[in-house]
């Protein structure tokens, strides 16, 4: 239960689940790469590059789930279009990686990526300029999703579009991007997207060391963003967000400009999603318009709901669990996976309103209660 005693001692003082999670992540960010690089493949503890990359991918998706929990769990903004921001961050990174290919493409053209040569283009479009520079690309990773979220959020929140109407237009947003990016003349590789990457900052993307570094970066990004989100939701700003979630008009009539608070948290969330996308792309080696699919965005919400909404660490756990299950079941019995996902969502909504995390909290509370019961002798 939330108390209001001075919480300035430690950011994670009241967040046991988060503390455990971050310790595991921190250890993982060292142990996974170490066991991959230092142990021989014959060793029982050796972690294959495949596993390392797979878990690295999960960490990026967990970061994406975290960004959704920040707005949905704490401010009640149900975005069903967060895949859009993830995809844009991914494309910004993808464009940098494309420029890194240089003349090693199939057509050997140093000036243009393969798909442009194929389309018989002779000049690099203006919006590709600057993407040979890593720093510029990283700014775009943050800026493009951020600016889109700002403009979209400004229009929606100022017009007081809320609830299911907001969710629907976010679906429209990501679907519109899907259609746009599918078009070849958009200049982002159309249907095939961007792929066949070779290097990042001059390091071979296929090498175990690069993979390990990317893995650690993903874990560290998740840790950093988790702490950032925890700091925000524990501040008075976080309580204003909860106020907006629980009683929007009360908060407004108390003197808070609800639209500004929503805009702030929505933009921040979009930026985090963009960073997640940028870390995801070099690990999976491709970005295509499929990432903008409306279903992808809905899936993110399912991860958060299953993990436990409004806890931050629940979102991370949900994303890791569901994506592991997805990998396993799409391999073992691909035809049942979608039914399972749907079933999980229904079951978690009906029986686990607070998700997996809430289930454990309940079990723990029951254990503690029975302990008190036996001590005082009034046990059931």
């Amino acid at each position: 239960m939330t108390t209001n005693k001075t919480s300035s001692r430690s950011l994670l003082a009241g967040d046991v689940g988060g503390k455990r999670l971050l310790i595991i992540l921190l250890l993982g960010s060292v142990i996974f790469p170490a066991f991959n690089l230092m142990l021989p493949e014959s060793s029982f503890f050796h972690i294959s590059t495949y596993t390392l990359t797979l878990v690295g991918k999960y960490l990026c998706l967990a970061l994406l789930a975290l960004s959704v929990d920040l707005i949905w769990g704490y401010c009640g903004i149900l975005s069903l279009g967060h895949g859009a921001f993830f995809g844009l961050g991914g494309y910004a990174m993808g464009m940098y990686l494309m420029r890194q290919i240089g003349d090693r493409g199939v057509y050997g053209n140093a000036e243009l990526p393969d798909f442009m040569v194929f389309l018989d283009w002779h000049e690099l479009p203006w919006f590709w300029l600057g993407f040979d520079n890593f720093g510029f690309a990283m700014i775009m990773v943050v800026l493009v999703p951020g600016v889109l979220a700002f403009v979209f959020g400004w229009l929606a929140f100022r017009s007081r579009v809320t609830g299911v109407y907001f969710s629907i237009i976010t679906q429209a947003l990501t679907y519109a991007l899907l259609l746009a990016f599918f078009r070849n003349d958009m200049g982002f590789g159309g249907n095939n997207g961007l792929t066949d990457f070779k290097e990042i900052l001059g390091f071979n993307l296929q090498s175990d060391v690069t993979r390990s570094v990317l893995f650690s970066c993903s874990a560290l990004a998740l840790i950093f963003c988790y702490l950032l989100c925890r700091w925000i939701v524990d501040s008075k700003l976080g309580r204003v967000l909860i106020g907006i979630r629980d009683a929007e008009s009360r908060t407004r009539f108390t003197g808070y400009k609800v639209e500004y608070f929503k805009l702030f948290v929505f933009v921040l969330s979009a930026v985090i999603a963009g960073v997640a996308g940028a870390l995801y792309v070099p690990q999976v080696g491709i970005i295509n318009p499929g990432e903008f699919g409306p279903l992808n965005s809905i899936e993110i919400v399912v991860w958060v709901a299953i993990g436990g909404r409004g806890t931050l660490y629940g979102a991370v756990i949900g994303a890791l669990l569901v994506n592991y299950a997805k990998t396993y079941f799409t391999g073992a019995m691909p035809e049942v996976w979608l039914f399972m996902l749907g079933g999980l969502f229904v079951v978690s909504t009906i029986y686990l309103p607070k998700g997996v995390v809430g289930l454990f909290q309940n079990l723990q509370a029951r254990k503690e209660n029975s302990k008190i019961g036996t001590i005082t002798g009034v046990g059931t």
Binding site: M1, T2, T3, N4, I232, S235, K236, L237, R239, V240, I242, G243, R245, D246, A247, S249, R250, T251, R252, F253, T254, G255, Y256, K257, V258, Y260, F261, F264
Partner: protein
């Protein structure tokens, strides 16, 4: 009509305000003046325009015509809800609305003056003096022993008090209170009337209510609204004698 000079002792001046919805005149040339430190009870049958009047004063609705002046010639029709709240007008809703998953203390902390901007809120630190103020209000609304309980755990009547407390902690010049006694037990109703009377003087208070016993307990000037305009004004006993009032409302 030209803007009348607002006297120094006037806190709210509503003049000739009309508001229609699809041809239905919810407010029809409504005028109302409230003095500093005064309490006013507003009664009227359903659809008389009580809530619309509150909406116009608090910036939720813009009037089609007329003026709404607050305190030192502030034209309220130019501001939105949040700005009006920060100018010093607090509003309690008909349905008690508190933030259910925050503690009582946190509810009041949120309502406390200051830290209204996004980044101000992010870096906001509660000062000892502000803490004392919250404790003071918790005592005043008789919920001090529940300060760490969640808003959602309160009974209906207690939520009403917490919401009134959220207004008080802001220290507004004017409180608009919509049906504070709705759903309360008799003793709770009595306590609420006492509480409102206690804060009158330091604050100006407008109470909208259906419950006649409650109005009687408030013992103050009553304005009767009917079809969007003022029908009668005066002491309750006086108003109750008015033949028009009896016809539209009390005598039914």
């Amino acid at each position: 009509m030209k803007t009348a000079h607002i006297g120094d002792d006037t806190i709210l001046y509503v003049n000739g305000v009309s508001k229609s919805f699809d041809g239905f005149k919810a407010l029809n040339n409504l005028s109302l003046t409230l003095k500093k430190g005064e309490m006013r009870a507003i009664i009227g049958p359903n659809g008389a325009g009580k809530t619309t009047m509150m909406d116009v004063i608090t910036g939720k609705l813009r009037p089609d015509e007329g003026e709404v002046i607050f305190s030192d010639n502030i034209d309220l029709t130019k501001y939105d809800e949040a700005e009006i709240a920060n100018l010093g007008i607090g509003r309690k809703f008909q349905k008690p609305t508190v933030i259910e998953s925050l503690s009582l203390f946190q509810n009041l902390e949120l309502a406390l003056q200051g830290g209204r901007g996004v980044f101000q809120a992010l870096f906001h630190k509660l000062k000892a003096k502000q803490k004392d103020r919250i404790e003071e209000v918790l005592e005043q609304i008789a919920l001090a022993d529940r300060r760490y309980d969640l808003g959602g755990s309160l009974s209906h009547g207690q939520k009403q008090w917490l919401e009134i407390g959220m207004l008080l902690v802001q220290d507004p010049q004017l409180l608009l209170v919509d049906e504070p006694a709705a759903g309360m037990t008799d003793s709770e109703t009595e306590t609420t009337a006492e509480l409102l009377k206690e804060i009158t003087g330091a604050h100006s208070v407008v109470v909208v209510e259906h419950d006649m016993d409650f109005i009687k307990a408030l013992d103050t000037t009553v304005t009767v609204l009917h079809e969007g305009s003022t029908l009668a004004e005066g002491r309750l006993e006086q108003v109750q004698q008015d033949s028009r009032v009896i016809e539209v409302y009390l005598g039914r």
